[in-house]
Amino acid sequence: MRETLTGSRIRERRVMAGLKQAELAQQIGISASYLNLIEHNRRRIGGKLLLNIAQALQVEPQALTEGAEAALIAALREAAGDSGLAGPEAERADEFAGRFPGWAKVLASSQRRIAALEQTVEALSDRLAHDPQLATSMHELLSTAAAIRSTAAILAETDSLQPEWRDRFQANIHQDSRRLSDSAQALVTYFDNAAETREVTHSPQAEVEAFLAAHDYRFEPLEQARAPEEAIAQLVAGAEALKTKAAQHIATGVLQQIARDATALPLVQLEQAVGAQGHDPATLAQALNQPVGRVLRRLASLPDLGAGLVVCDRSGSVTFAKSIEGFTVPRFGACCPLWPLFAVLGQPGLVMKSRVAQMGRGQAQFDAIATCEVQAAPAYNIPPLSQSVMLLLPVPSGTTPAQPVGATCRICPISACRARREPSILRDGI
């Protein structure tokens, strides 16, 4: 994988430097056709040759190999964009990452933390404005306080208060003080529960992904569980990675889906079928008489395949992502609408297969297989919910032309894109 990316990086840097293939090849003393093979990731490269190329391109060798990782660069570019850094310096994010990898990581993790905090701030201000539970609690608290304050003041300030009025007001205060303590208690409980959402080092989605990755996306207890709900509750309760309620909720949903899939299509059965017919999802779905969506999800948990998986709901929000190197699923903000995942939304039954490559660094290629499935109708005359599933199978790059897609518009270099929502913070296409 690393070598795969190195060639593409060399090509990218050469184009950025405005050099022709022949010119660079001559400078470093190799043939243009050999450089071409390197740039298309058909030849491994390292040692002296790599150093020579780096020198000719005036970059650190690390920037061509492992130092400049796509996610890191993306985060740096986003940081530059957010703070309005423009001009030639903004173009040098990968150089910065190559020269000062430690500092670059500090900056990138700050950038991610800012994004997480911003999301939290938004959620919190939203809550104050729109949370009906909070509004009701506050109203109750203030009303009771108002009643007690007025009544207590009457008792304290009225000379010669008639005994029947005094008794009445004392009874009222007694009643209201109990209400006040109840509503204060309710409010504290509310904030206690809300407090856990303030832990923002990771988003709930990130916690879930860490939890699933720690299990290699395989849960043996669910493969032969007779009472999956119990097994799921145990798994979630015992997971240290799942800190927030939100993460536990998401993970429970994911595990329930895995349990349903496992019942219908046990991994053992799938592995046998893959052994006999290969891993083409449509072929497998036919042979096993299973919906394609399920086959895609199950294939994602076969470690040998090294596949990525993205699932989104009817609104296009990503509800599940199994990362794969070379294909970035933005954690915040909207995804690239060109993904096959979104092309199949609203067309249940259609299975799309296309070769895609995310523009930018590396340009690793994937076979993306996507389908949309309708969830069971809850009642008559209610539009059903649906979800799209996309499996990403890594393929050796270079042979077939791939459809260029992005991660998210802000960091996408495709300049003339019909799907562009907002301008890229990159200057121009690579």
């Binding site: 009303s143 304050r149 007025s150 009544t151």
Partner: protein, 122 residues
């Protein structure tokens, strides 16, 4: 003859305290706990002052205020509004609907009595 105030407030203990305080000052107080028929009651009673809670069962204080302001008979009636959510949004909405004065709970009795006196004097 003593002045009449209609108090629309669903919190009985607040209503009771206000009724007591205003009676001490020589007011006659008519209380209502539901917003639904409030505008009609007010029209019939023809009071000197209306005190309106914002969050009421049946109909909100804003709706009642709107009805009062759109009727020439009650268009100029002094209205003191009470709300438990001292948010600027509530205040802005009340001012737009033509409230005479706005008070947030909890308030002191003296504040409330001052507001009532001011409204009658002007």
């Amino acid at each position: 003859m003593s002045k009449l105030v209609v108090l629309v407030e669903d919190e009985v203990n607040i209503a009771e305290a206000i009724r007591f305080l205003l009676s001490q000052e020589g007011w006659r107080v008519e209380t209502l706990a539901n917003g639904a028929g409030a505008a009609d009651v007010i029209r019939k009673a023809a009071p000197d002052l209306v005190m309106l809670d914002v969050m009421l069962p049946g109909k909100s204080g804003f709706e009642i205020l709107d009805e009062l302001r759109s009727d020439p008979a009650t268009g100029d009636l002094p209205v003191l509004m009470l709300t438990a959510r001292g948010q600027s949004r509530d205040r802005a909405m009340a001012e737009k609907a033509g409230v005479s004065r706005f008070m947030t709970k909890p308030f002191s009795n003296a504040e409330m009595l001052d507001a009532v006196r001011d409204l009658i004097a002007s």
